[in-house]
């Protein structure tokens, strides 16, 4: 039981970190960013680069990777999303193309063999009678703190309120003097930074390879559809739902079947409640 509780929380945390960033971009900028998985992969390689090339300590390398990806997010928004904003389909294509370019670039630069990035917290710890990697607990803690901070930022900070207002009505936001192009840039930066953070913490527990962004991207998309596009609360709820149902299925049946859970969840949601759990 305790195992399911902890492992479920860890996998929910990784889904939530990816999905909240993805849904934030949709909720505010009204575009689906198919390069979100590429942000994840690039985040892992940035971490790898800082560790391998500069010998940075893992904790420092994570922060550096986050900073780099935040900048990448803002740049992607400026050159690949902003000029196409009026045409959502064009944004879909440009971000998809970008994700393929990113994957190929990683392949050319780093080769196809998988790489390893170091754990930030090493060694197993015992909690509730379960031996779990300290990194897994770190993942849970980081997800709670980061998503909590994001929620506070959106509701309390002046820039956060501007972001929230833009998500409600971008024209209304401009009318009161909110520079919405800045808001979109910030949202992309935050979203990419969250993907990098997720990759840097989850990456060491998996393998780092150029196509590693695809599955997390599909999972994030699933979570966001189940939760309701653009709803942060919905994404958290759906991340917990998928994280725990996958963990339970892995324990009771097998890990192969666990992968099917998210797809079934998406299908059922689309049939029963097309706008998602918290969608409008």
């Amino acid at each position: 039981m305790a195992e399911i509780l902890l492992y479920g929380a860890a996998s929910s945390a990784s889904y939530a970190l990816m999905a909240v960033g993805f849904t934030l971009v949709f909720g505010v900028a009204r575009v689906l960013n198919l390069a979100h998985g590429a942000f994840y992969a690039c985040g892992a390689y940035a971490m790898y680069g800082f560790c391998a090339a500069f010998g940075a300590a893992p904790a420092i390398a994570v922060l550096a990777a986050i900073a780099v990806l935040a900048a990448v997010g803002a740049i992607v928004n400026r050159f690949f999303v902003e000029p196409l904003r009026a045409r959502p389909m064009a944004v879909l294509m440009s971000t998809l193309a970008l994700s393929i370019v990113a994957e190929q670039t990683l392949l050319i630069t780093f080769g196809s063999q998988s790489r390893n990035i170091p754990l930030i917290l090493d060694g197993p710890v015992s909690l509730l009678g379960v031996r779990i990697g300290a990194q897994g607990l770190l993942l849970i803690a980081v997800a709670i703190v980061v998503i909590g901070a994001l929620w506070l930022f959106l509701h309390k900070a002046k820039l956060g309120k501007a972001i929230y207002a833009t998500s409600q009505d971008p024209v209304g936001a401009q009318l009161v003097g909110i520079r919405t192009s800045t808001v979109f840039a910030v949202v992309f930066a935050v979203s990419a930074a969250m993907a990098a953070l997720s990759a840097a913490i989850v990456g060491p527990m998996q393998t780092v390879s150029p196509e590693m962004g695809l599955m997390p991207m599909i999972k994030a998309f699933s979570v966001v559809i189940v939760g309701g596009l653009g709803s942060i609360g919905g994404s958290i709820a759906a991340a917990l739902l998928l994280g725990y149902s996958e963990t339970i299925v892995s324990y009771l049946v097998s890990t192969e079947w666990a992968q099917i859970v998210s797809l079934v969840a998406v299908f059922v949601t689309l049939v029963v409640r097309p706008s998602g759990l918290f969608g409008k």
Partner: protein, 237 residues
């Protein structure tokens, strides 16, 4: 000698090949309540969209205090002293009334906003009662009050109102127009466009009448009141 705050000079504008505004000129003077009347489709909203930089003019120019607004991004207008209360209101529906108003003062300090909020509440006491309620759950008339209040929070020199009476019960309509009169009396220049000519004729300092993208008449309210054919032809009165 009155000063022109806002000048629209020979503006031509449209959507694609469709020309909506055809050589429109008007001027808004310091502290006046100026109404632009006209039937649906006369080009009133397009004119306001051009002024508030939601769309570009094909030719002609729009000047605020003598400065051309060409190339100015929409969010910068508040900083120049122009606030637009648009068609459809464009409120933030899931946010409480209080936050909608605070966001209206986005470019100002919290202290300045608190002072302005008190004035807005004095003008629309209803908004003080509804402070914690989500804006999207208010009635149409109350939402319009929030929209005007939010625009006032930007501390404008020029306030632009797009058909504030649309879809609103008669009693609230009168309240809103009276509030608009008060706003102008306090020295804020107001440009209001309306279909509901009757209610405005008594309140406005000066009127323009638009028809098919052109200004067809300009003058004080009595000009319209005393001109039966103008009323019949353009305003359906």
């Amino acid at each position: 000698m009155s000063i022109d705050l806002l000048t629209v000079r020979n503006v031509v504008a449209g959507y694609g090949r469709i020309r909506v505004l055809d050589d429109v000129s008007l001027d808004l003077r310091q502290g006046e309540l100026l109404a632009v009347l006209g039937a649906n489709g006369a080009g009133k909203t397009t004119l306001l969209r051009c002024i508030s930089r939601m769309m570009d003019v094909a030719s002609g120019d729009i000047l605020l205090e003598g400065r051309s607004l060409k190339g100015v991004a929409a969010p910068e207008l508040v900083r120049l002293g122009l606030c637009h209360c648009p068609e459809g209101r464009r409120l933030f529906p899931d946010l409480p009334v209080r936050v909608n108003l605070e966001l209206g003062g986005f470019i100002h300090t919290a202290d300045a906003n608190a002072a302005m909020m008190a004035k807005v509440h004095a003008l629309f006491p209803k908004l003080a009662e509804r402070a914690g309620q989500r804006a999207g759950t208010l009635s149409g008339g109350e939402q319009q009050m929030v929209a005007i209040g939010r625009a006032l929070m930007g501390r404008p020199k020029v306030l632009i109102l797009d058909e504030p009476s649309v879809g609103i019960a008669h009693g609230l309509k009168v309240q809103i127009f009276e509030a608009v009169r008060k706003i102008a009396d306090e020295g804020i220049s107001v440009l209001i466009v309306e279909q509901d000519a009757e209610a405005l004729i008594e309140l406005a300092d000066r009127l323009y009448v638009m028809e098919q993208g052109r200004i067809v008449a300009e003058g004080p309210p009595r000009m319209i009141r005393d001109n039966g054919s103008l009323k019949a032809a353009y305003l359906g009165m």
